[in-house]
Amino acid sequence: MEERNLEIKVGIFVLVAAALLTGFIFVMGGISFEDRFEMYVDFNNPLWLSEGATVKVSGVEAGKVEEIAFLGGQLDPKTNRRVYVRVKLLVNEKVRGAFRADAEFYIANQGLLGEQYVEIDPGTFEAPPFDFGKAAQGKDPPRLEKFLIQGYQMINKIDRMLDAPDEDIDGLLVTVVQAMRSLDRGMSGIGNALEGNEQDIKKLLENLRKITDEALLAVHSARKWLDEGGKVDLILSDVRAVTQDLPRQADQLIERLDSTVAHADQLIGQVQGVLADTVGEDQRRQLRAMIANLESVSERAVGVADDVRTMVAEVRGDVEPVFDGVRQVMDSVQQIVRNIQRGEGTVGALLADEQIYDDLKELIRDLKHNPWKFFWRE
């Protein structure tokens, strides 16, 4: 009987321990009866990720890291990417459907000093399904040592900057203070001008709108007048005809002028012959002077004709683009005025939308109270 009691006591204790051990093995040993599938994620540097590490999908445990293989930059023909480290994951089958093409793979830390695990953001629902046939590209964990080095370099730069001569920093500060004060004054002025003058500004804008309406009407009228019977085209065609005829007529004119001068020379020669026989010495001298003047006049006339010819040739190339430009400008002005009237664009919206006036006023008041917003953002 005593032996039997002993057996029972020992048996109970062993059974309890066996049950505990079984529980430990199931809970801690990673034994799972769920179906799992394999997937691969590439990293350049997975840092302290180890085999057996947890895999979480949206923060919920969903698998284990099965294997970490160093591939050393091999080219993966499926992804056409160089792979340094490939991590094989065993993930529960039930989360497979949640994966989308824009899924993201991180290596995260459990707490500040905890072990690393693979965190998967399965992606947006609207994206196409994930391609499990290819290895995904994971995002490398931040490297603390790099961060520290960069921080150290930045602190060095700041330190060097602060070591600069005090005059420079003082000057910079004085400039900044002055700029701030000027801005404050400007904002105050604008704010004062706006405050209590809402009605005037409204009227001003109304007037501006009326002016633009009238300008639009005027442009319409001008356009209509010009378009009637093709007056603009007519004027342009006349100008073109003039510019085309001008060189031809100038040539004829110059030819005639040349022949006239030749006749004049001939006539002068004859007159000189006659005068040599009939007039005295004084009269002859006067006539010689007059003839010399006539010669210089004719020479100048020839020079003027050359100038006219050159000018006409130049003008003919310039006049046509000028008239084309005038036409385009008129079209643009008409289009702008039309847009303004429809309330399109900044000016149109300014005239048509009362909300913009209120926003503008609010912006100026805000800048007046917070002028530093010119320099940085909250």
Partner: protein, 279 residues
């Protein structure tokens, strides 16, 4: 007379050994004693393993040993390991609060260190103090009262009769006690974290940092320590000499060498496990 004087003068002429001579002599004696002890220990170990497989089956011997080693140690082990778990969690939380204040991983790291190492090593130390001392005292008393010699005269192998049942019982019950210790330490640690640091038990029960490797290491240590304690203690008991005082010394040696054996084995298993699982 002359012969007696010569003999007297010859004895007087014999030189006393110098300090270096005595040192070397002592070193040699220790080495020879150590080698003899190692040989004897090795012999006991091999014979224990052999008789565990091929020995006689005494009805109830293993069961009684299991009860003595396991059930009778339950209260002691529960209290000691519970307090150790409480102290570990308390100090862990205090230190973490000083550094980061983030206590949500205290449970995970506590479970890892308990399963992988502390439950086995501390538990085995406690078992060694109680069970090892008991085995050595019992066998030592039999040695000094010539009961062991009587066994030999009856053609009963003392190792088979005295050590093997305790060896078998210890391998099983040390594992059982250490698994029980894991549970006790975890529960007490969880309650400590909850009561003193407001760590939710669900957060404390975080097994993400424990895996099959930690369990394998823990269970391997359980088996190794469970085997080492009765063999070391049995060896100390069997080498008892000098009456009641000798029994006292045997008990002391059993505790010291059992604890030393657990620590040494812990080092060896942890190193091998590191290279097998983590390196």
């Amino acid at each position: 007379m002359a012969a007696g004087a010569r003999a007297a003068s010859g004895e007087g002429a014999r030189r006393e050994p110098g300090r270096v001579h005595r040192f070397v002599e002592g070193l040699g004696t220790s080495a020879v004693d150590g080698a003899r002890a190692a040989r004897l220990f090795y012999s006991i170990l091999i014979r224990t393993l052999y008789y565990s497989v091929r020995g006689r089956r005494e009805k109830g011997a293993v069961l009684r040993a299991m009860y003595q080693i396991g059930n009778r140690s339950l209260f002691f082990i529960t209290v000691v390991m519970g307090f150790i778990g409480m102290i570990m969690v308390y100090h862990s939380c205090t230190q973490v609060n000083r550094i980061t204040g983030d206590l949500h991983l205290v449970g995970a790291t506590f479970l890892q260190i308990v399963v992988r190492d502390f439950a086995a090593s501390i538990g085995a130390t406690m078992i060694a103090t109680r069970v090892g001392a008991g085995i050595a005292a019992e066998i030592g008393s039999m040695v000094v009262t010539d009961q062991v010699d009587a066994l030999r005269m009856c053609a009963a192998e003392p190792i088979d009769y005295l050590i093997v049942p305790r060896f078998k019982a210890s391998v099983v019950m040390t594992t059982v006690l250490i698994v029980w210790s894991m549970a006790v330490m975890t529960v007490i640690g969880m309650l400590t974290a909850w009561g003193m640091f407001d760590v939710n038990p669900r957060i404390f029960w975080n097994t993400s940092m424990v895996d099959y490797r930690d369990l394998t290491m823990g269970l391997t240590k359980c088996l190794a320590f469970g085997a080492a304690i009765p063999i070391v203690s049995g060896y100390c008991g069997l080498t008892t000499f000098g009456g009641a005082e000798g029994v006292g010394w045997a008990t002391t040696r059993a505790v010291v060498w059992s604890i030393f054996a657990t620590i040494l084995l812990n080092f060896v298993i942890s190193t091998v496990g590191f290279y097998v699982f983590w390196a």
